[in-house]
């Protein structure tokens, strides 16, 4: 791993959240400076800030993108007890030339009486639905019934979790095998109050969300929670950031046909890591759920991976060093050709050369013009992969056939 590039974020205060959009070409950042910035990635990989605006009257905790099926839509939540929905307006042509875009507020959700700690969109197959959770222990689910009119949101569900909420995560699975489900984490620090993770499930009959499960073994404050992408499994995987990193497996137990209550789950802990040796604040899965990242009080980000036998291991650590960027250090030592010498195992990440742990001592490279020429593959095997040129969006030229204007009475007709 290495640092490929550094972007000057230019926020005037701490950044609290960074969120990639669905395709990984745009990113949103939010900060205690009460603003949100939107960044666009150009063809050469450079990030440009295309919008920056004040969103709230308090620190902005989280920012999240809606699925691109709904257009370019962002939601933010803040200490100022509100959450807001923003939509990008296709700008004037001179704005586009300057690489700027405008975002306007579509709605402010003011139902919470305390700081809104998390905001998440529900999986797209449920429509355009937004969920917030607050320090007052209430989870609110809003829906925009008309995707083309984002100023109309209705509060569909208000769920009281009894404990101060810090995070929510929807189960991303769109399988019809199970109803919509989300998990809520509480950062209430009183261990006597029982399980700090609650799972809610939608009930088709009552048309309401009901609590399906409380993870009683999680008694410490929970700071973050994340369902893994489903991958067609019959069970669900949930990662939790609490005093350590925990991964749970939730296997739905078969329901009797007469049962109308929520699904019962068999809950198993799959892994538990205390390597951070301190509070864990964030957990998040990559797209294929093969990697989990966690961030802790120790100032590190750790990456966790399961091998093909489902054993979890830490496969990497990222750490801030608190010092200005130095020049490249840790050049590999001079190598001798006798076996027994070793390559510098920990190639420095800052010089960007090593992409990993190359442990092989250099063997004599074959000289040019050796007898390996006959091993070159026939040219028919050499394929060219066409590189996609990034073209500006094509304008569909409207066909302008001259058609009769029908509204005014044609004088020449029908005498």
């Amino acid at each position: 791993m290495f640092v490929a590039r550094s972007i000057a974020a230019d926020h005037k205060d701490l950044i609290h959240d960074v969120s990639y959009d669905f395709h990984g070409r745009r990113m949103a950042t939010c900060s205690s400076d009460q603003s949100v910035k939107v960044w666009d990635k150009s063809e050469n990989g450079e990030w440009h800030c295309t919008a920056s605006w004040k969103t709230h009257s308090g620190s902005v905790w989280r920012v999240t993108w809606a699925h691109p099926e709904f257009g370019q839509v962002l939601a933010s939540c803040s200490f100022d007890r509100t959450a807001a929905v923003w939509e990008e307006i296709v700008g004037e042509s001179n704005d586009k030339q300057r690489g700027l875009s405008h975002w306007i507020k579509r709605t402010t959700l003011v139902d919470s009486r305390t700081s809104v700690t998390d905001v998440k969109f529900a999986p797209k197959h449920m429509g355009l639905m937004l969920t917030t959770c607050s320090a007052d222990g209430v989870v609110r689910i809003y829906e925009a019934p008309d995707v083309m009119n984002l100023s109309q949101w209705s509060l569909q569900h208000e769920i009281s979790c009894k404990l101060s909420c810090s995070c929510i995560s929807w189960n991303p699975s769109s399988s019809r095998a199970h109803p919509p489900m989300f998990a809520v984490g509480s950062d209430d620090s009183n261990v006597a109050y029982g399980g700090k993770v609650q799972i809610y499930e939608y009930n088709e009959n009552t048309r309401k969300y009901a609590k399906a499960e409380t993870l009683m073994t999680v008694t410490d404050a929970v700071h973050d929670i994340a369902f893994a992408p489903n991958l067609g499994r019959s069970f669900h995987v949930l990662a939790i950031a609490t005093k350590d990193v925990r991964i749970f497996k939730l296997a739905p137990m078969r329901k009797e046909s007469t049962s109308t209550g929520p699904t019962k789950f068999e809950v198993q802990i799959v892994a538990q890591f205390d390597n951070h040796n301190s509070q864990v604040w964030r957990v998040s899965w990559n797209i294929t759920s093969t990697l989990l990242a966690s961030s802790g009080d120790d100032g590190c980000v750790r990456l966790w991976k399961a091998n093909y036998m489902d054993n979890w291991k830490c496969t990497g650590i990222l750490k801030g060093d608190g010092s200005p960027l130095t020049g490249s250090s840790g050049q590999p030592t001079a190598m001798s050709t006798v076996v027994g010498s070793s390559v510098q195992a920990s190639q420095s990440a800052l010089n960007g050369m090593s992409a990993g742990r190359y442990f092989f001592p250099p063997l004599d490279p074959p000289r040019a013009g050796t007898r390996y020429g006959h091993l070159l593959p026939p040219s028919s095997l050499i394929e060219n992969c066409d590189v996609e040129p990034i073209q500006p969006q094509q304008q569909v030229l409207p066909h302008r056939l001259s058609s009769r204007a029908l509204l005014p009475l044609p004088e020449a007709e029908g005498q």
Binding site: D10, V18, P377
Partner: protein
Amino acid sequence: MEEVDVEPPVTVSTGSAAGKHLGFAWGPGDILVYETLYKASGAKGSGSPFIHEVRKDEDIYSPILRKLFNESHHIFVGLQTIREDLPSKNKKPQFVSISKNYRSVIRACMEELQQVAGRHYLFMLPYNNCVSILLAIELIWNLCEVLFIDAAPAGSLLLHLLDWVRLHKADVDEKARDVLQSESPAEHESYWDVVLGYVLQGRLEEARQMLVKQASLHPAARNMFKLMDTLLSKMPFYNPSGTQTLTEFDVKWRHWHEEVDRCLQDNSFASNQHLEAICKILVGDEDTLLEHKDLLSTWYHFLVTRLLFCHPTVKPTELHYYAQSCLTMFLDSRSAPEPLDSILLAAFEFDIHQVIKDCSIALNNWWFVAHLTDLLDHCKLLQSHNLHFGSNLREFLLLEYASGLFTHHSLWQLAVDYFDHCPEFGRVYLELQIERVPLDTERKALKVLRICEQRQMSEQVRSICKIMAMRALRNNRLGSALSWSIRAKDAAFATLISERFLQDYCAKGTFSDLDLIDNLGPAMLLSDRLTFLGKYREFHKLYGEKRFREAAKLLLSLMTAKIAPRSFWMTLLTDALPLLEQKEVGSVVLLIVFSCMSVT
């Protein structure tokens, strides 16, 4: 992969005091990290200047390695389509040939990298790293081919191992060239190194030719040189395609071995230390071999040479004894075995699983283990080791490799084929990842769509079309939005866009994108509003062609079928009015007016 030690931390320079937390966000192919502070109750702090993009894999961005990925993809797909029903013995030569193909691709890459590295000193270090890794990969692959895929029996085994060593020890030839091009080769400082090098590699014919030059310088010792020449020429080499059995060869070889030993005991070469050394090598004397460590340079060269001169009929099952002892003998007490050594040792022990495991740990990119494991699985070698997760291992590695490719702007297309050949999770991985391919252009979107349509991934098709439709609509390109909605079979969206068309018409008096609307065909039936739009346009055409009666009839049917939106009735009535002037349609129009009135 049990005892993987944690990688040393990648230190991200944050430019300010330590004690801050590190926030992160997963991206395609990278992870963004930034300095922050998590606190239960609001945290404030000094501005954090940077967001850092951290990446894991550099390889996929290398233009030369791209060739490796492209060509090996081609070989991979070919391998998958080998018919399962052929008996194994017919397939072995095919598998060996495929293995050789893979290796030649590696070599081609290596050559190219070396050429580029040679051009500019700035490229040298990273490219040389890459070259040495590719070299190691090819070395391991070659050994796996010899031991596992070709599975040479005793006799041939040693010959293949000899080839293997010769292929990876090029410096003898280079030195030989230098020596031969000099004025007096026999007096060149590297002369004896070359001769010994040849002998150690079992290239006795070439050794003899070199010795002739030395012999001519020492006419007095002519007999001694002649004796050596004879010994060298008489060394038996097993011929697998000949009529001689292995036992017969063994007998012959022992005879020769005894003869060489006799010469040694007789001190026939005592007066020339070099010839004496050669004689000792021929008899397989370990100490002499070890004295020439610098010429052997690796323990596996030592292993093969030792086997050549001690036990040429070595059986595959006996290899690991010799391998372990050679490794121990060759490395002095100070140095520990390198990962490459462990991998080769595992190969000699026929522990395929260990080979794969160690390679996975030591290498960053999954390319090597994924392709090699796939090939070994096709040779049914993973099952034979009683691994119930054998084919799971194959799939696991292929999924890892292909997922890595997916983040690349053009290599993702190769990844699709790999997912196709992963029966258990390939499809769901593909579904998840193909949705994320950025749809920069219509052409790219169509490419992605074709892939999804070919695999009946209807949800992904719908989603991509919807995204494109939405994007078009936001940019007010109604025609494009409509055609994408139709492709998405999204009735609701088609309705919405049709409404916009109609609104536009009301506002401007003309239609845009007439070409599209005129050619809707059966797609018109997707939504009522769309049907209305199409038919309404048809009405205009008829009117324009002065086919007033048909136009009026169409207008009537539009109203009676109730697919005309109420908001549009005024417009329709207004359209109907001029038709009143037309004699033959007057009655029809009256009907229209009456039907309007009857409904309100």
